[in-house]
Structure formats: C-alpha cells, structure tokens
C-alpha cells in the first residue's frame, strides 16, 4: 500500500467511525499473536476473539483486530511473528506467549517501537508489557478445599499434572500441595503427568493405578478428568471424586454420573474468552486509561447446582466459555488498582 492510499483509507475510517465514546481508538489496529491452536481450548479462544473483535471493528471501536497463530509453537517463530507485526504497524499486540522469558527481546523491540503489548494466559516477564495472569496457585488450593468439604475425614489423592516444565503446571501443583499441607488428612499417594490431554492422562493413570491403594480424590489441571475417569472405570476401581476442568467431555460425563448415581464434584478452569478480556484491556490502554501492569483473570467455576447451565454454555467439544465485555475489563482493571 502506498502512503497516500494508507492515509486516505485511514481518513475514510476515521470519518465513518465516529462513535463518540471510543473515538480515540477508532483508528487503532490490534493484533493477536498466538503460539498454538491445536486443542479445543485454543480453538475456543480464537473463536471468542474473532466474535468480539469483529463486533468491535463493526462498531468502529477499533480499526482492525486480526489474529495470527504460529504453526509450530516455537519461541523463535513467535519472536519473528512479533517483529513482523511491529513492521506492519499495529498499535497493540495482544500476546499469548510460547515462553515467559524467551520472547522478552521481541517484546522489548515492540515497546521501543511504541507498540502496546498485553500478554495473557501465557504471560511474558518483560516489564514494559502488561500481564493478565491467572492465579493458578489459588486454583490448585480451591480444588483441595473443595475436596476437604466433601471428604471431611481426608483420604488418598492422585495428582494429575500438566506438561512438565511449563509454568502453569508448576503453579497449579504448588497450590495443590499448599492446600494439602493445610488439610493434613489428605495424602498425595501418586502423581502423573497428563499433559492436559485426555488420552495421555488416561494412559498415565492406567499405568500407575495398579500400584496404588484406594483413591478418594483426583486433583487435576483440566483436560485430564475424563481420561482419568476412563482409566478408573477400565480398572474396575471405585470412582473417586475427580475434579474437572470445564471441558465439554468432562462436564458431559459428570452430568451422566450425576443423573445416574448422584456423583458430586466441581469443575474449574479459565474461560478461553480471556482473549477478549485482553482485547478490551488493550483497547483501554490505547484509549489512554491508567491500567496497572499486573491484572488477574477471574476463574470460571462450575458446581453441582449450576452444572446444567455450565454445560449449556459449553460448545460441543469445547470448553465452558464466556466472552468478556468492556465493562468486565474495566472491573478487572479497577480491582487491580
């Protein structure tokens, strides 16, 4: 595009998009840099982004809000992608990062070029970027306190962890272990890595189960509860309380069990729509709002009494989801101030 045409189209955009409240960001362009799309959570995340971004562009809140996903989930690849986005002149980059430290160089370059960087879910440590982080530790603790309510006498727990060496896995696990030390009647008798995938979790649990005593509860990280249930069923074991992670297959299985024998558990995860929260936060920053660098994402928790609603809000094969609005973003921002 020649500079003249760019100027012309920008002028046109500015002229057509005169919504009074957000006029300040109507000529801004926001890009989503995403490192991975190969699971249902990420698919829902991208769909939520698409939906909210399309609406926002249609209403003239921002000029563009495009999503870019790297093919190989590699740090170098995403760093190159960020450099491209800088060259393409985006005003803000919303980032789900492949590594908390590995992208800091590219993020620094973006900041130096005057680009606002908002990282979420997979956050970056570079101080110039904003972070919308999940309090994963709290999530792990919540799981154990729920089990303590259900099993006042304590019992044996099996821990299913995520992908070894990933920040999120360490945090949730640390929270779980903190929770267990607060409730000494519980004992973690086995721990496997399920890689947040039902098939991997099923295999790992099936392997370790024969060597374990009776299990009363299974603490998980999401995406592994259904696989664990399959492994317990195949081994002919009594079904323990398996904490679920809001996946459609997990909630469906829970609903079946609830209807059949009154099975009780809970389910907690992060809504993939958190990408839309990051979108609105970026929009607010571009709008000149005073936004603290560290924000916290709210959990999406499903309990026995709102299981049916939760299931209804979960796309088949996806994760229980909500899309955040501008007001939600403002609330999260003021909570951090």
């Amino acid at each position: 595009m020649t500079p003249r045409i760019t100027a012309l189209s920008l002028a046109l955009l500015a002229a057509t998009a005169m919504t009074p409240a957000q006029a300040d960001t109507s000529d801004k362009r926001i890009a989503l840099s995403n490192n991975y799309a190969g699971n249902s959570w990420r698919q829902a995340m991208l769909q939520s982004w698409e939906k909210v971004a399309e609406e926002a562009v249609g209403e003239g809140v921002v000029a563009e809000a495009d999503a870019f996903t790297t093919a190989e989930n590699q740090v170098t690849e995403q760093a190159a992608q960020i450099q491209n986005l800088i060259l393409q002149g985006y005003d803000a980059i919303v980032l789900n990062a492949a590594s908390p430290e590995g992208l800091n160089g590219a993020v620094r370059e973006a900041c130096d070029a005057g680009v606002t960087v908002v990282s979420f879910d997979g956050i970056v440590t570079e101080p110039c970027a904003w972070r919308i982080a999940v309090d994963f530790k709290q999530m792990g603790k919540d799981e154990v306190s729920f089990l303590a309510e259900q099993l006042p006498e304590g019992g044996s727990l099996l821990e299913i962890r995520g992908l070894a060496g990933v920040f999120v896995d360490d945090e949730i696990s640390a929270g779980i272990h903190e929770g267990v030390s607060e409730h000494p009647d519980f004992k973690i008798v086995g721990s496997v890595h399920g890689d947040w995938a039902q098939d991997v979790a099923q295999k790992a649990v099936a392997g370790i189960l024969p060597s374990l005593p009776e299990i009363n509860g299974v603490v998980t990280q999401g995406g592994d509860g259904y696989g664990a249930a399959q492994a317990f069923r195949a081994a002919g074991r009594d079904m323990p309380i398996i904490v679920m992670g809001n996946r459609h297959d997990e909630l469906t299985w829970w609903k079946e069990q609830k209807d059949a024998n009154g099975y009780v558990t809970m389910s907690v995860s992060i809504a993939p729509g958190v990408s839309t929260l990051a979108f609105w936060v970026a929009q607010q920053i571009l709008d000149g709002a005073d936004v603290p660098k560290d924000l916290t994402v709210p959990f999406l928790r499903i309990d026995q009494d709102n299981l049916e609603d939760g299931l209804a809000n979960t796309e088949e094969g996806g994760v229980a989801n909500i899309e955040y609005s501008l007001d939600d973003a403002k609330e999260v921002i003021s909570a951090a101030q």
């Binding site: 699971n39 698919q43 991997v200 099923q202 099936a206 370790i208 024969p210 081994a235 297959d249």
Partner: protein
C-alpha cells in the same frame, strides 16, 4: 550351541530384556502389588504404538532420510473423520473403518506426490503435509469429541484373561508383517532399497513402486491406529496423535531397526513399545520429580540403544 548364540544376537532381544527388567523393578517397588495389571495395561497401550511403528519401520527401512512425520496428523484426521461419519451407529463400524483407511491412502498418495513429483526430501514433505492434514482435521470438526459406536468401544477395550483382544489382533498382524518383510518380494525389495537404492534399481527392482506402496501403507497403519485409538478413548481429539511422532521413531530404533535403513525387525517393535510404556510407569510409580523422570527416560533409552547397537556392529 550355535542356535543359542544366534538367538542372543537377535537385535530385538534387548528391547524385551529391558522391558522385563523395568517391569520387575516396578513390581519389586510395589512388593508385587498389581504387577499383573500393570502388564495388562502395558499391552493395551503398547498396541497403539506398535500399529504406527510397523508402518514407520517399513518407511525407515527404505534408507537414509526416509521417515514419516505425518503420522500424528493422519491419526487425528482419520479418527476425527471416521468418528463423525459413524456418529455412534454400530452398523457404521465397518464403513467407518474403510473411511479411515481411505484417509490413510489419500495421505500416503499426497506424501509420495510431494516426495516424487515435487522432489522434496521425505522429512520435509511429510512434515509439511502434516500441517495440511492437521488443519483439515481442525477445519472438519474443530476438536469436537464424537462418541464412538458402543460396539467399537467395547471391542477396543475388551480383554480375555487380562490380555486385550486388540493386542492379540495386533500381535497377529505383526506376525503377518514379519513374513511380509522377510519372505515376500515386496519386503525383500524394501530391505534391498535401504541397503543400496542404486544397486536395487540396477538389479531391476521396482524401486519407485515399492516406495510408493510403503508410504501409503505407513499412512494406512497410522489411520487405523487413529480409528481404534478414538474408539478406545471415547472419541477423537485434535491432540490425540501428538506423542506418537517421536514414539513411533523411538519404538522402531529401540526395537533394533537401523535408522540408516536396510536392517529391520518386527518383534523388536513389541519389545520396545512395552519397554517405553513400562519405563514411564516405573518412574511414575517411584514417584520421582518430573525433571528426574525425563532425565532417566533419556538415559535409559540411550543405554538400551547403545547395548543393542553394540551387539549389532560386532555381528557384522
């Protein structure tokens, strides 16, 4: 005496020895509790590794540079498409399987097309086709988990006296493929190409046709694995094939097949697949931290390959 020494020179022996050693170590740690069940579970999951590894082994045997990296994506696409088309209906089980096979054939032809017509090295050709295939799976169903027909789920999880029926079936298939590799013109041609492709061509062997068949066969095995795995684990998922890429190569190599091609064996695949599963189970049972577990996994695999490789080179 000679028979015994020949037996101990079999390259697949080390994989089985390692599997048994790891199993005994696990059983010793738990004082024998659940040792039988562990073995039964190991056969269940090793089955899936063996299915893809048979195809991968034939490809690797074709010689240096031949490897199929599109296996995980093919599994995902075949599992996804067949589950969605069967839609849980029992009478669709056979048509559903034929569709999975058709997916495999299409992928195989695509791979060979990229390798032969566009002259792209196999490692790059199958890697790039895997992106196309994975995208097709995402586009087709966006990760939706469709339940398999009940009869298929029952069949894939059924056991006779602790032994999974699927494992027995795959042992039978492995036996057939052993004969195909060692006793048919096709199998001997694959080995001949791996040892020296030029010599094989000059000897009048149909090198291109055999290569074509081998890549298609590998994709069909991968597709079949995706089909039964989706039946086993309650539906297809987008990331279901992920761990089968490196695992398929590892099983082939630990099983005593030469990465350089030209020398391979089928029994080792079973030994290696059992070994890999039992190894992870053992380290899980010991309750070691993730870092130590991965480190030990790497070291033990290196040790087994070195031992097996050492015996092979002294043989020649």
């Amino acid at each position: 005496m000679k028979a015994i020494t020949t037996f101990f020179r079999q390259p697949w022996l080390f994989a089985f020895a390692a599997a048994i050693a790891v199993w005994i170590a696990t059983a010793a740690f738990t004082q024998g509790q659940g040792a039988g069940e562990v073995l039964s579970v190991a056969f269940t999951f090793a089955t899936f590794f063996v299915i893809v590894a048979i195809g991968q082994m034939f490809v690797v045997t074709l010689g240096p540079g031949n490897v199929d990296l599109s296996i995980p994506a093919t599994m995902t696409l075949a599992g996804t498409v067949s589950m969605k088309i069967m839609d849980g209906l029992n009478w669709m089980i056979l048509p559903g399987y034929l569709i999975a096979v058709a997916v495999g054939v299409v992928v195989g032809v695509l791979n060979v097309g990229l390798i032969r017509v566009l002259r792209i090295p196999p490692i790059i050709a199958t890697l790039s086709s895997s992106f196309i295939i994975q995208s097709a799976a995402i586009w087709y169903n966006r990760g939706l988990r469709v339940k398999p027909p009940t009869m298929l789920a029952d069949f894939t999880t059924a056991k006779i006296a602790g032994m999974p029926i699927l494992a027995l079936l795959v042992i039978l298939i492995a036996a057939v493929m052993h004969v195909v590799l060692n006793r048919t013109i096709y199998g001997r041609t694959v080995i001949a190409i791996g040892q020296n492709a030029r010599a094989a061509r000059l000897a009048g062997l149909e090198v291109n046709r055999v290569r074509f068949l081998t890549y298609v066969m590998c994709a069909v095995f991968a597709a079949s694995c995706g089909y039964v795995l989706a039946g086993f684990s309650g539906g297809a998922a987008l990331n279901m094939g992920q761990e089968y890429l490196l695992a398929s190569v590892a099983v082939v190599v630990i099983g005593g097949t030469s990465v350089a091609g030209g020398f391979s064996n089928i029994p080792g695949l079973w030994g290696a697949a059992l070994f890999l599963f039992l190894l992870v189970t053992m380290l899980n049972t010991f309750g070691l931290g993730a870092g130590v577990r991965l480190l030990l996994t790497g070291l033990i695999i290196i040790a087994v390959i070195t031992l097996a490789g050492g015996s092979r080179s002294s043989e020649r």
